[in-house]
Structures are given as C-alpha cells and as structure tokens.
C-alpha cells in the first residue's frame, strides 16, 4: 500500500522476546501447547507466574521442559527442533502416530507457528519460499489442522519492508483457512470471517501507519487495545 508515510524507527516495534511475551499472556494454565521450531519456542519462557502450560513436541513427548545445562544433554531426549530438552514431572513418551493423533485429533489447545505470509482468509505460508532448493515440510502442515487455536507469531513486515499479512499468499501454502490469531511486532490481529480484525496495536503507531505496512485491510470491531509489553 502507500509508502509515502513516515518510516517507523527501529525501536518502534516489539522485539522477538516481546512478541513471545505477548503470545504467552493468552495461554491459560494447563493448556496443551505446541510451539513451532525456532523463534516460536521463545513463548515458553514467558508464561505468567502461576500458569503452567504443557508443551507437546511432534517427536513424542508431552510436558518437556527447558534445555539441560551444556554438557548434560541426552540426545535421545530432544524436541522436534532437535534441541536437547528435559522432562517435567507428569511427562509421557509416545510414538509419532499417537503424537499426530494429538495434533490432528484436536487435542492441542494452541499451536503457535512462524510465518512467511498469512492471508486475510487465514491461509498460512511458512514452509517454502519458492520452488528452488530442497523442500522440507516437517510437521507444519499437520499442526495447522487440529489445534483448537492456531496462531502465528511473526515480524509484521519482511526485512525489506514487504507486508507479511496479505490478501492472498504468494508463497506455497502450508494450510488453508487455518490461522485465527496473529501476534506481530506491531499488532495483535484476529482473523474472523475472512477479515483481519485489529485487536491491539503499538500505542505509538497510528492506524494509518499500521495499515500502510499491512497487505490487506485491517478491520476494527471494538476499541483497539494498546500493545504494551515489558522491556525484553
């Protein structure tokens, strides 16, 4: 959209940790949660005091915990990102078919994934930029189906300033009409009836500035909250 508006300064967006913090605030105590490999994994660090989510990993663990101390890794105790983890009391092991039964069968409360693009219809593209190189999909196409809520956590725009929230994804799709909430570096946005509905935005950012960096129309249904996080 318009590029004539003033550019945001580097400070005027959430850090990755702040986005993760914001996403973590919506996870209720006792929720079963799958965090996508990489940046979404940070969400686990910011659970509010008194709440304890149970984390699922595709390769067959429920209720794993933090990384062990360096040098204490057990490489048979890893998550889907192949990182060493630890167990919490109440953990369980299971095979891959049971693990994806949990995913596909609607047993997870929340899945939080990274994104290349999200469309206003809730389509997600997050596995491949184009048709070159070696394709690799992992569990992404399964995770977008089944969890009661499938969220995205992402920079609002690409490094070159292109919108990641778009009318229609141009990258290969991961899933159709699967995303219901997006946590970005600028805003919290729900997807309802094929529309981006703005829930929260950075207080220092105007509606015009936000819309200018968004590839599809932002709708407002109720007063937009301030997206405020601790310094992280």
């Amino acid at each position: 959209m318009s590029s004539a508006l003033p550019t945001m300064t580097e400070d005027a967006k959430l850090s990755s940790a702040q986005m993760a913090w914001r996403a973590a605030q919506d996870i209720r105590d006792g929720a079963y949660v799958n965090l996508g490999i990489g940046f979404p994994e940070m969400v686990a660090r910011y659970q509010p005091p008194g709440r304890q989510a149970i984390f699922h990993t595709e390769n067959g663990i429920l209720d794993f915990g933090d990384a062990p101390e360096p040098g204490k890794e057990d490489w048979d105790l890893i998550n889907a990102g192949k990182k060493a983890v630890t167990l919490k009391p109440g953990a369980a092991f299971f095979h891959h078919a049971d693990s994806f039964a949990m995913v596909r069968g609607g047993h997870l409360d929340v899945a939080i994934l990274g994104a290349l693009q999200v469309s206003e219809h809730g389509d997600l593209a997050n596995w491949r930029v184009g048709s070159k190189g070696v394709p690799a999909v992992g569990g992404a196409m399964d995770l977008v189906h089944g969890a009661k809520q499938v969220c995205v956590i992402t920079e609002h725009v690409t490094k070159t300033g292109e919108p990641k929230l778009v009318e229609k994804c141009t990258f290969p799709l991961t899933g159709v009409a699967c995303i219901t909430r997006i946590y970005t570096s600028f805003a919290v946005i729900d997807i309802t009836a094929g529309r981006f509905v703005l829930r929260e935005k950075l207080p220092g950012m105007s509606m015009e500035q936000l819309q200018a960096q968004t590839g599809a129309k932002l709708h407002i249904e109720e007063p937009v909250g301030d997206l405020v996080t601790p310094a992280l």
């Binding site: 105590d29 006792g30 079963y32 304890q52 149970i54 699922h56 663990i61 429920l62 209720d63 167990l87 919490k88 009391p89 109440g90 953990a91 369980a92 092991f93 299971f94 078919a97 049971d98 994806f100 039964a101 949990m102 995913v103 596909r104 069968g105 609607g106 047993h107 997870l108 189906h145 089944g146």
Partner: protein
C-alpha cells in the same frame, strides 16, 4: 494442573440427556462400574452408548438399559452370559442397535481420536454390515469406507493415574479404554491409584494425560465379571 474430582458423582455430573457416551471395557474386564452406577444415580436419558458389548446381568450397562437411559447401542457383540436387559428392549423395538465388527469399531474410535474422518478396511466387504457404505478398490482388492466415531463423553477404568491424567491399565482391562480416551470431547476416568505428577514412569504411560479431563480415585473397584458371578445387581449404589 489437577484433574481430580472429589467423587464419582461429581466426575460424571456434566453428562446430560441425549449425550453420546463411550464406555470402556470388553466383556467383564475394564468396565468402569462405579462411574456407570454414579451415572445411573443421575439418570440422564436418551443416551447413545458405545461399548464392545451391550451389558451383562443386572449391573453396569445392563442396569443403565434397565433404567431406560439408553436409546441406542453401538457395539460388536450384544450378547453375554445374561443379556436379558438388552435383548428384551431390542426385541420390543425399544432400543436401537448399530452393529459394527469389533476391529472396525476399534479403528473407528481410534480414527475419531486421531482426526481421521474416514478410512478403508477389508472387513465386512460383501456382507450385510457393509450395505450402503462406499466401496473402493486399492491394488485390485475391494474395501469398505468407514467413518470415525466420536463421543461427547468417555467413561473409563484405568489402574494408575496421575494428576495430569496419565494412565496405566491392568492386563486385558486395557482393551478399548485407551482408544475411547482419545475419541471423546470429555474423558472421565476412575483409577484404582491416583498419584502425583511424576508418579508414573514416562516410558510406561499408556494414555497420555492430554486425552483425559477428569479423574476420580476408586481404590478397590468392583470387577464386572466377579459381580456377575456373584449374582450382584445394581440397586441405587448398593450391592446386596
């Protein structure tokens, strides 16, 4: 995270008229007798019950049928040593029956839990139990399309359970119980031993807690077959 209920009555309190209820057990093993009898005390009606069998004697599912709570049974083998309760109602046209081959019943329940809306099986091809179902050929062999089975509630008997809902079972009392835990919107479990989280080795968990919503400890549960052989009957929670 603590899924404990104070007692069986509280555990089953959300089950209302018209619910679809999976009940664990095969023949006399693995039936959650105390939860079933708590449900009879509450007495919701017009239930659809999914179990391998259709009750035996005058306890458990048979007592539910006698109490007029069951509108339909989905099962593979509605016969037992004393099938009177179901047989009378069925022959009088007062209870509906969906008869499903046992392996197909298990797989349909597992599919419900695993988010698989339909699958193909060789079972029942060419028989009256496949009538009206889509047929497809794969690699030159004909198969029957079967749909998933889901339920509003599952009531389950396990051996040990922890506060997160992780479960183990006792011998062949495992049977349909782990599958039904997966396939119900809400799964209610009676356990002989309720332990803190961490009290079950993660390698030995049979049903991970994600499939369980509520647990109640019933320390010395009744065993259905033993009750039948002792001629027990349900009379409002008391076993004479």
């Amino acid at each position: 995270m603590d899924k404990r209920s104070a007692n069986a009555a509280e555990a089953i309190s959300a089950i209302e008229d018209g619910a679809v209820v999976m009940i664990g057990g095969f023949g006399g093993s693995g039936a959650p007798i105390e939860l079933i009898h708590a449900l009879i005390d509450k007495r919701p009606r017009n239930l659809t019950v999914i179990n391998n069998n259709a009750g035996n004697g005058r306890i458990g599912i048979a007592a539910m049928i006698d109490a007029g709570m069951v509108a339909k049974m989905i099962c593979s083998f509605p016969k037992s040593s004393d099938p009177r309760a179901f047989t009378e109602k069925y022959l009088a046209g007062e209870i509906a029956l969906e008869l499903v081959p046992q392996g197909t019943l298990a797989e349909r329940i597992r599919a419900g839990g695993a988010g698989i809306p339909a699958f193909y099986t060789p079972t029942a091809y060419g028989t009256e139990l496949a009538e009206g179902k889509p047929i497809a050929e794969f690699d030159g062999r004909p198969y029957v399309q079967e749909r998933w089975l889901k339920a509003d509630f599952a009531i389950i008997k396990a051996d040990s359970g922890d506060t997160h809902g992780n479960l183990t079972y006792n011998k062949a009392a495992r049977n349909f119980n782990p599958l039904m835990c997966m396939a119900a919107a809400r799964t209610i479990v009676q356990v002989s031993r309720l332990v803190e989280a961490g009290g079950i080795d993660p390698e030995h968990v049979v049903t991970p807690g994600i499939f369980v919503d509520r647990l109640v400890q019933v320390p010395n549960p009744q065993q259905e077959e033993a009750m039948i052989r002792a001629g027990m009957q349900y009379e409002g929670g008391i076993y004479p």
